[in-house]
């Protein structure tokens, strides 16, 4: 009992609990339909590839998980959100495909430039976008949402311009590697895992995490204690841009084309939501990266669940909203306080009875 109590007090308890709750919906549905109750969790190998709903969640959730890393840092350092990440994804994918196919070419069956040039180009342009956002926020003190609004609208437009307003297809098998499979594993899962591990290592073994949090808690105080607050904010926005670039290239490689109109569409909202679902305050300061990552996969779990349940696409947003409301309410401070009070009362009663 005491073990369970200490478990519920852990910061990650609620995000994980919400994710399990979402997946439980599937178990209930499968039982009601007479399917194997745990079919959602079944993982197997089919046609030489990993196969299963859980794999779908991990695979399809990769982009948002990668974005969530950058978004968490940005939220922590600047108490604001970077709403340009979806557009930057599209821009980086568009630029990469333009380099690989050549300007104005809609279908390419061979590379115009080596693959690494395209990928590097995509990553670099995303980093430049991050730098631009960071400069506006850190050095010009523009509200993060306003500053990133510029690239939110312009990023996708520039991508369209680079792609000559067409969907640019790069039909070379090696280009699909980022979005397809390595051996039996879907590559996006590996990319996301790689990004998460790198981020975790940096935060653990350098003081960057502490710097970011102190800047987020009190920018002035951090500056007086000797941190270069502006530079730290700039760095977080650059990391966010880098993450958007990686996510953009993954999404582009999945469909081996730069569909600049649709890549990363509304994904900034998913990224922000995953930070919130992870139990992080959007007011900046202390952050918990694992929470955001779990939040990202929770969002994908909701989407996958909706497909599994066969909820019609017109009703799906309502269902999604209901689940999100439930999770957010569970994590709201007043609700937490209420439960805390209830347990305290109970304990007091028990003590009295004893």
């Amino acid at each position: 009992m005491s073990k369970l109590k200490s478990l519920t007090k852990k910061q990650l308890f609620l995000p994980i609990f919400s994710m399990i709750l979402v997946m439980l919906i599937n178990v209930i549905y499968d039982m009601a339909c007479g399917n194997a109750p745990l079919s959602f969790f079944q993982i197997g190998i089919k046609n030489g590839f990993l196969y299963g709903r859980l794999i779908d969640v991990l695979n399809r959730g990769s982009e948002v998980a990668i974005l969530a890393i950058g978004m968490t840092l940005v939220v922590s350092s600047s108490a604001g959100t970077d709403i340009s990440v979806g557009s930057v994804m599209s821009l980086s994918g568009g630029f990469c495909c333009m380099l690989l196919a050549g300007y104005g070419v809609a279908r390419a069956n061979s590379y115009a430039l080596p693959l690494w040039v395209g990928l590097l180009g995509g990553i670099l342009i995303a980093c430049v976008c991050g730098l631009f956002n960071g400069f506006l926020v850190a050095y010009l003190n523009i509200q993060p949402m306003v500053a990133t609004l510029i690239l939110w609208s312009a990023g996708r437009a520039i991508g369209l311009l680079l792609c000559n307003s067409q969907i640019v297809y790069v039909r070379v098998p090696s280009f699909q590697i980022l979005g397809a499979y390595v051996g039996f594993l879907p590559t996006p899962i590996l990319i996301a895992a790689f990004c998460i591990v790198i981020a975790a290592l940096i935060l653990r073994f350098t003081a960057l995490g502490t710097f970011i949090q102190s800047v987020g808690i009190n920018k002035k105080a951090a500056r007086i204690s000797g941190f270069n607050s502006a530079r730290i904010i700039l760095i977080t926005y650059m990391i966010c841009g880098l993450c958007a670039g990686i996510a953009g290239l993954t999404a582009t490689s999945r469909i081996y084309s730069a569909d600049t109109n649709n890549i990363g569409l509304n994904m900034e909202l998913d990224a922000i939501l995953s930070v919130a679902l992870g139990g992080n305050s959007l007011g900046g300061g202390k952050f918990n990266l694992s929470g955001s990552i779990i939040g990202a996969y929770t969002i994908q779990a909701i989407t996958t669940t909706m497909y599994a349940l066969g909820i019609s696409s017109a009703q799906a947003p309502v269902f999604k909203a209901m689940v999100v409301i439930l999770i957010v309410v569970l994590q709201a401070e007043p609700v937490k306080d209420y439960f805390r009070k209830m347990t305290a009362k109970k304990a007091a009663k028990e003590a009295k009875a004893a």
Binding site: K46, N47, Y51, L161, I255
Partner: protein, 369 residues
Amino acid sequence: MLRKKLSVLLAAAMVAAAVVGCGGADQTAAPADNAAPAEEAAPAEDAAPAEDAAAEGGEEAAPAASGDVITVGYAQVGHESDWRTANTQNYQDVFSEANGYELSLIDCDNDNAAQLEAVRNFITQQLDYIIIAPIETAGWDTVLQEAQDAGIPVIIADREIAADASLYDAWVGTNTKNEGITAGNWLAEYLDGKEANILVIEGSVGASATLGRSEGFKEVADQHSEWKILDSQSGDFTQDGGQEVMESFIKSYEGQFNVVVCHNDNEAYGAMDAMNAAGITYGVDGDVILISFDATHDGLQYTLDGKINCNVECNPIQAATVAEVIQKMHNGESFEATTLVNDEAFVAPGIESQYATTMTEDVLAGRAY
């Protein structure tokens, strides 16, 4: 002081952003060949007063005032897809100076307000005919009334409009419901009474193409008791969406389905990738019959390769039909209030059908979009 500096910088950033924005818009339009006609519209504006003077002098009808040249304004939706680009190109080819027309084509970039503005401009310029491919169905009453008051005939092209039929003169376009019916009829012919377990990957929720294609296909499906639509989900007309929905379908209905209907070609590409990964065969030699819509160049390539069994087109080549209506109006002959542009369907080599053309290299070569 600091605040002043900041405000100056902010202003500079805003100007820079505006320049970037404008530059983007201009240049995105340019490659789609839409900039040229837009520029041509400018001299037409200049010429308008001169024409007015001529009209005042002679009190003649507008067409006569501008000689034999018929001036036509086309408020195009935008350039969001290959289909739209082909549609624009088609109008430029048909309404050419060589054919006796002067076309003012405005690319409205999917902006409803810009389109209303474009039509008002056409009215001020006193063009002979106005063609509108409406971005939104509603909200047209006022501007159509203005056109009617100015005595300019209006033709609605391509999409439906929610206005009283008395406010415009003719409608020319495709019927997405018919496309769905064609797909259904072809499937019935192909299956010849065999069972069908169907999965549908729909387009964007609420889009007219989605509604029409679903409705038409369902109408045929309802007549066949041996058909069952197992599930229907939206793939948002994108390749990624099609792939994700198909991945889920495969898990939910493993080994239970033999027909997949995708509402556009991009979704079909995604569905094919998902089936490839799961080792499911499709197309002419496969276990699953794949039906797609749009029939773009790439889609038809897959049809020719036998990967897509049947691809139903949504024909962007509509200008000739519109020109026919305009000629009839111009000569004072009677014309049809609504004209349907013929949509074709294409089937993979090895399939013969009364509803569709069998794909060959030649058909593909003639496909520009």
